[in-house]
């Protein structure tokens, strides 16, 4: 099953750059220009990880994050932002982002690791569900 990343940023160059980079690493990628576009896309497509900027028109990153947490709980959200401040980082944490990475992204290694961690989290949840489904079947089989 391919790993799908949705990249959300109002600056096209950044969307393309990140998209390019992660596609080269083997992920499947798509892009959106703001929070609303992102939610529309999520409604129609399966996405595992979302990388999103905070400052965007129409719907900003934190609002998007909260909507995703509510409607698509399995989706991991990584915030990227140019506004390096404690308040921003706290807002991301409180709204339950997977993590946040500060721009400028001189070295994409940090973001790559964040994406890896996000997928690992998803994998570990999937394994748990698989385990549970396996138990259920064996319970049924043993008439428990």
């Amino acid at each position: 099953m391919s790993k799908k990343i949705l990249i959300v940023d109002d600056e096209i160059e950044i969307r393309e750059m990140l998209s390019r980079h992660f596609r080269f690493l083997g992920y499947n990628t798509s892009t959106a220009g703001n929070g609303e576009e992102a939610m529309d896309y999520l409604g129609e497509n399966k996405v595992d990880v979302v990388i999103t900027d905070i400052m965007m028109p129409v719907m900003d990153g934190v609002t998007l994050l909260k909507s995703i947490r509510k409607e698509y709980p399995m989706v991991q959200v990584i915030m990227i932002t140019g506004y390096v401040s404690l308040d921003n980082a706290l807002a991301c944490m409180r709204a339950q982002a997977s993590t946040c990475v500060f721009k400028p992204l001189e070295d994409l290694t940090e973001l790559e690791k964040a994406v890896e961690n996000a997928f690992n989290t998803i994998e570990s949840w999937k394994r748990k569900f698989k385990e549970l489904r396996g138990l259920k079947i064996s319970a049924k089989e043993n008439n428990l």
């Binding site: 600056e11 980079h21 080269f24 140019g82 506004y83 721009k103 400028p104 992204l105 001189e106 070295d107």
Partner: protein, 402 residues
């Protein structure tokens, strides 16, 4: 002292002139009212006048009325008249006379009357002097106020620039992000091509050059972006708008490094920087951005003092002294001349052009250090150059929790 005598009677003029000369005055005699008025309207005219009532040209009363219209200076007037009715005195005083001399003239009283005149006129002269001094002072204050207003506008403009700097810094981050990201991708793509053997052995010189240079160029782009990021980050932190003072323990070495980064452009051409901050110097306690502002100010001033000089040296040193961290910023410039060394911390004092400074730097630096419980001072080094030195408190061990 000059006194004007205006009377059409020759004898009267003669008597008065000789009496006045005896009393040490300098009499100027005229025969009619118009001549009298003319003299009294000139600059440096006599400030005491004895005017006959009945005169050809203008009468004494007419001269008085005309004279009193002038408000710039005072002429003490004595009206000379044979009349002595109460009504006459009323007319005389109303017209503006200060005193009367009745004919026939009693010379015994002239001395006393003139003393009165002298008293009044001397007072007038003193008042006049004070007045003109006040006017001069007011004018110079007005000039100063205009000067300050201009400086404030300038300072405000620079402050606005500081505010904009933070926003501009943020704007620069986005393109930095995708330049760096794309460069990193290029690096990866290139490595992949090399590994997949895309570039087989060729005898083509150009291809060889490309194979060698390509990774170096990418590396160059990446390190360029790193530098941009560092500069922007220093700029952002320096221009931060948060004005509330937040004190905490900080490493003075780090602050000096950042300050040098900010000033890099000013010092790179001809200045050798020597930093002497031993590890034994403990963390200081204060608002690190404000202290950074002070250090940037001192470095900038030092750089300006050594502008164009060969072998310019800037020495920044630090040491612990009891419970204070002492810092010195020393330059190899011309030093500060004795006549201004006491003024340089004054607000708006500047010896540089208006172009890129407000004259506020040192006075603000001084108040920052004082607010931290230290002192900012300056002295001239024996070998030449100026030394600015200040101290701020050491952070207590219990506060140092990194």
């Amino acid at each position: 002292m000059k006194i004007l005598i205006a009377d059409d009677d020759f004898v009267t003029r003669k008597i008065l002139s000789s009496t006045l000369t005896q009393e040490g005055f300098e009499p100027i005699a005229v025969e009619d009212g118009s001549a009298a008025l003319k003299i009294l309207q000139q600059e440096n005219c006599p400030k005491i006048a004895i005017l006959d009532w009945q005169m050809p040209g203008l009468t004494g009363i007419e001269v008085l009325k005309e004279l009193r219209k002038c408000q710039d200076y005072y002429v003490y007037c004595i009206l000379l008249t044979a009349r002595s009715e109460a009504e006459d005195f009323k007319i005389g005083f109303d017209a503006g006379t200060d005193d009367f001399l009745t004919k026939p003239i009693d010379t015994s009283l002239i001395k006393q009357k003139l003393n009165v005149a002298k008293r009044i006129i001397q007072y007038e002269i003193n008042e006049g002097q004070m007045r003109s001094e006040i006017v001069k002072y007011a004018d110079s204050m007005k000039e100063l106020a205009e000067e300050r207003a201009k400086q404030l506008v300038h300072a405000d403009r620079l402050a606005t620039l500081g505010t904009l700097a933070a926003g501009i810094a943020h704007e620069i981050n986005n393109p930095s992000t995708f330049i760096a990201g794309n460069a990193q991708s290029l690096e990866k793509y290139w490595e992949a091509l090399i590994q997949k053997g895309f570039f087989s052995e060729t005898k083509d010189q150009q291809v060889d050059v490309i194979l060698e240079d390509f990774p170096k160029m990418i590396s160059g782009i990446r390190s360029g972006v790193k530098r941009i990021t560092k500069i922007v980050s220093s700029l952002k932190s320096y221009a931060r708008q948060d004005l509330t003072i937040k004190k905490s323990p900080f490493d003075i070495n780090e602050v000096v490094e950042e300050a040098l980064e900010i000033c890099h452009n000013k010092i790179k051409y001809n200045i050798t920087v020597e930093k002497n901050i031993p590890d034994s110097v403990p963390f200081a306690f204060g608002d690190k951005y404000q202290i950074e502002q002070v250090i940037v100010n001192l470095i900038t001033n030092a750089a300006d003092a050594m502008n164009g000089k060969k072998n310019a040296r800037l020495l920044i040193s630090c040491q612990k002294n009891e419970n204070m961290v002492q810092m010195e910023v020393k330059d190899s410039g011309p030093g500060i001349s004795e006549d201004i060394i006491n003024k340089i911390f004054n607000p708006f004092f500047t010896s540089k052009g208006r172009q890129d400074n407000t004259g506020l730097g040192l006075s603000i630096s001084k108040s920052i250090i004082e607010e931290h419980g230290g002192q900012l001072n300056v002295k001239n080094a024996p070998e030449g150059g100026a030394v600015f030195y200040f101290s701020i408190p050491v952070a207590k061990k219990s506060e140092e929790n990194i």
